[in-house]
């Protein structure tokens, strides 16, 4: 059944997917919490509430498979089961989160969702044993008491009109207890309730007939109408009670009906179950008491996602991109204007209009700046969106390889461009998995080395200039240099002799070479050797870098540096020959001058001495196959990752904010250039892809780049 028009359905579905994704994330977090504190009623309540909301939403959207599974799960999220199953329940919750997530993506793609058999089995196995404890026993005591019969007779004796009312409960009504309560409420509205069977405390699911006697001044029809409660009562029978009659026969029927399903149990079983019921009852009683407390505690919590989301506006990312693009064009227009005004000032230095131009220019520049920042901010999301999935990743990996790992997350408030964030997800997950699987040692090994048995993986994010740095640190065994080199030699990635001259950084960078993994064996988690080079490739695509710091026995840190945004960079412009080039300012360390005479050759590398460092030099004009003939030259010192090198250029032009225009691959047949930009005077400037330049010009075989 589809209750909504198509437009509306689509909108609701979008809303559903958005909130469901959020719910699943919450479920993951709560599942982990539940694993830590399986006895905590409050945690269990939270999990249950999350599953409940998910169930309700998906059912309303018509996703029955999901809602039924969620319903089954919700049913086992009970304190009595939690007490028996301990951590197993949390495991089921986490499996459920995965299953729901794959179902969601199936729904999103309009595919048949997975059946979730594993989850079903898990849920069934949870309920198998405790199922006995939830049966309610001994309903035989709900016989109309002598007292009740007396009350009826008494009312009749006083001349009141007494009605016998019988309800048959709607077969589809699953909440018999609630139905019972509602019937009682209605009966009390109709008149004075004299007797009711079964008694009020029943929550039995076997109940399907309720009989009552009321004294009322209302008419039979009125009562019948009032008692025809929709969705609860299927049929109503109202009879005026003539004389004080013995309703014993009817009652016996009811009693028989209610008790039959239990009669096959033997005496001993019943006794055993009674104690179970007792303990279950105690458990039911405690959460009630805790409800009151938790409500107070909940008051201090921030408003839930659901109640906040109405102030959020969902906008297609493309729309923001097009605004950003226009801002980029504006920046070009600004520098055109700027140049025109400079020209004007040169020609008419005395003109009073000059001041007004420069005022207007300054004003416009400031607004442009703000505009650019605000548009950028729209695209920014806190890194937390990325980080919050990792507690689960760490837990799963640690569990599967038998390690104890604690994840510490800091700097999650740092903002990052959404598209960058999305691209970082995969490499970061890889690094985290690696850190747990390869980095952290087994508990026994750690204790041997005098470390705490529990390893720590730290995720950190912070700003550094125009870049964001994300660190993945583990306090594990570090990278074994010797092993790494041996492996690289064995695979023929480097020559034996070269190994000696490799610097520390170059050695570490070996890890990014495709097809190299130092893990002894391939596990299901990592070690297939396809990961680290992907990390590097993605980072390069993002104009970022990845570097490593490792200490044997102490641990490893991966530094992922990415630009704040992909659209606009601050760049240093320079000329080589008659071409104009730019490099991201963030990668420029310093600029220095040197002469032809100060250059030396070492191992086919041209080097120069910079203070007490030796700096490898790259001649850009070799790219253009031209010969340098100047005596003095500028050297731009560049760092990519942890490597530094000098770029020899002819003229420095200046700093400029460049709007990067992506170039389609068929326009530029080289990976040396990562993009182009247009200056205010219409000149085209090429933005160098530094890592490719290094690989190409430096002829350093195994820096690990794509050479």
């Amino acid at each position: 059944m589809n209750f909504f028009s198509d437009d509306h359905a689509a909108e609701l579905r979008e809303l559903f997917f958005e909130s469901a994704t959020e719910l699943l994330q919450t479920l993951n977090e709560e599942g982990l919490e539940l694993e830590k504190r399986p006895e905590d009623q409050e945690v269990l309540r939270q999990v249950r509430r999350t599953v409940h909301t998910l169930k309700g939403d998906s059912a309303a959207c018509g996703y029955t498979e999901l809602s039924e599974l969620a319903h089954a799960l919700e049913d086992v999220l009970r304190p009595d089961i939690a007490a028996v199953s301990k951590a197993a329940l949390a495991e089921v919750v986490l499996i459920a989160a995965d299953t729901f997530s794959s179902m969601l993506s199936a729904y999103r793609g309009s595919l048949q969702p997975p059946a979730g058999e594993e989850l079903k089995e898990q849920i069934v196995s949870l309920t198998k044993k405790p199922a006995n404890t939830v049966r309610y026993k001994l309903q035989a005591r709900f016989v109309w008491s002598e007292y009740e019969q007396m009350v009826v007779a008494d009312a009749l004796g006083r001349g009141e009109t007494v009605y016998n009312v019988a309800f048959s409960i709607e077969p589809q009504c699953p909440m018999r207890g609630a139905a019972m309560q509602l019937i009682r409420n209605v009966l009390q509205d109709c008149g004075k309730l004299l007797a009711v069977a079964p008694d009020q405390s029943t929550l039995s699911n076997d109940l399907d007939v309720v009989e009552a006697a009321i004294a009322s001044d209302n008419s039979e029809e009125w009562i019948a109408k009032k008692c025809r409660i929709p969705s609860v009562v299927a049929e109503v029978l109202v009879q005026k009670a003539g004389q004080a009659q013995e309703p014993a026969d009817d009652v016996l029927d009811i009693v028989r009906h209610v008790t039959t399903p239990q009669e096959d149990g033997t005496e001993t079983v019943i006794r055993a179950e009674e104690t179970l019921v007792e303990s279950a009852a105690r458990e039911v009683a405690t959460p009630r008491a805790e409800n009151a407390n938790s409500q107070i505690a909940n008051d201090t919590q921030p408003a839930s996602f659901a109640s906040m989301s109405e102030t959020l506006l969902r906008v297609d990312a493309e729309k923001i991109d097009s605004v950003l693009n226009l801002v980029g064009e504006l920046i070009i227009a600004k520098s055109m204007l700027h140049q025109a005004i400079n020209e004007f000032e040169k020609r008419h230095p005395k003109d009073p209009l000059k001041m007004r131009f420069s005022d207007a220019m300054a004003f416009q520049a400031r607004i442009m700046n703000d505009l650019q920042k605000s548009v950028m901010k729209i695209r920014m999301v806190p890194v937390e969106h990325l980080f919050r999935r990792f507690p689960r990743v760490v837990r799963d990996v640690a569990k599967s390889c038998g390690k104890e790992v604690n994840l510490v997350v800091t700097g999650q408030d740092t903002d990052l461009d959404k598209s960058i964030l999305d691209m970082l997800a995969e490499p970061l997950a890889h690094l985290v998995r690696n850190a747990v699987d390869h980095g952290i040692e087994s508990p026994a090994e750690r204790i041997n080395d005098g470390k705490p048995a529990q390893g720590t993986v730290t995720l950190d994010a912070y700003h550094q200039g125009n870049e964001i740095v994300i660190e993945v640190t583990d306090d594990g065994r570090g990278i074994d240099r010797e092993k790494l080199i041996a492996k690289a030699v064995e695979r023929g990635l480097i020559k034996h002799g070269d190994a000696v001259v490799l610097g520390e950084i170059e050695t570490n960078n070996l890890i990014f070479h495709p097809g190299l993994s130092t893990a002894q064996e391939v596990t299901s988690i990592s070690g297939r050797g396809v990961g680290m080079d992907v990390v590097k490739t993605v980072l390069e695509k993002l104009k970022g870098t990845v570097s490593i710091r490792t200490t044997a026995g102490k641990g490893t840190t991966f530094f992922l540096k990415v630009p704040l945004t992909l659209a606009i960079i601050k760049a240093l412009l320079f000329r080589v020959g008659d071409r104009l080039y730019a490099v991201p300012l963030a990668s420029v360390v310093e600029i220095t001058r040197t002469t032809q005479g100060a250059l030396h050759r070492v191992d086919q590398h041209e080097v120069m001495q910079l203070r007490n460092e030796v700096l490898a030099l790259l001649h850009l004009h070799r790219l253009e196959k031209e010969q340098a003939e100047t005596g003095k030259m500028f050297v731009v010192v560049i760092s990519t990752g942890e490597r530094k090198f000098g770029l020899v250029v002819d003229h420095l032009v200046g700093e400029e904010e460049l709007v990067i225009k992506a170039m389609d691959d068929h326009l530029v047949a080289t990976d040396l250039v990562s993009g182009a930009s247009i200056l205010g005077d219409g000149t085209v400037v090429l933005i160098l892809n530094l890592s490719s330049v290094v690989a190409k010009l430096g002829k350093l075989q195994m820096v690990g780049a794509t050479a």
Partner: protein, 145 residues
């Protein structure tokens, strides 16, 4: 899409609803249904506390209240509303697993309950029942939805 005869108050005005649920989705879903019955949503709340203040502000004819919500659960909100407005018509909306809570809510003065996922035909009948003599099916002249 099913259509229902429009329900109006005795005075001919639309029935005014307050919808309480912590899930925006569930709220919109129920809101669409009651609007199809000719009702008017005069307030929405995402938690029990807001529900109480919204009730005081709007004094609706009917409250559709979710049972599990953050900060203050539906039962408590229902209880407090009924305490200060004994004639408040509150219908609890919840799933099968919360039977005890529904029973509690009914004891505290809720008038009826509807099971999630809410089916429009059931909700319609329940609203009609709970409104009782205070509402009627509109004469078919204005019937269009």
């Amino acid at each position: 899409m099913e259509t229902f005869p429009i329900l109006i108050r005795k005075d001919g005005m639309p029935i005014r609803y307050l919808v309480v649920d912590d899930s925006v989705f569930a709220r919109k879903n129920v809101a669409k249904m009651v609007e199809a019955f000719g009702g008017e949503i005069v307030g929405e709340a995402g938690d029990g506390c807001t529900a109480i203040t919204e009730y005081d502000r709007t004094t609706p004819d009917m409250v559709l209240m979710d049972i599990t919500m953050p900060q203050m659960e539906g039962i408590e909100a229902a209880e407090r509303i009924v305490r200060s407005h004994p004639n408040a018509r509150i219908v609890m909306v919840s799933s099968v697993g919360y039977q005890e809570n529904i029973v509690a809510a009914l004891q505290k003065g809720a008038r009826h309950f509807v099971q999630k996922p809410v089916k429009s035909e059931i909700l319609y009948e329940v609203i009609k029942y709970v409104m009782g003599d205070d509402a009627a099916v509109a004469t078919p002249t204005a019937q269009e939805s």
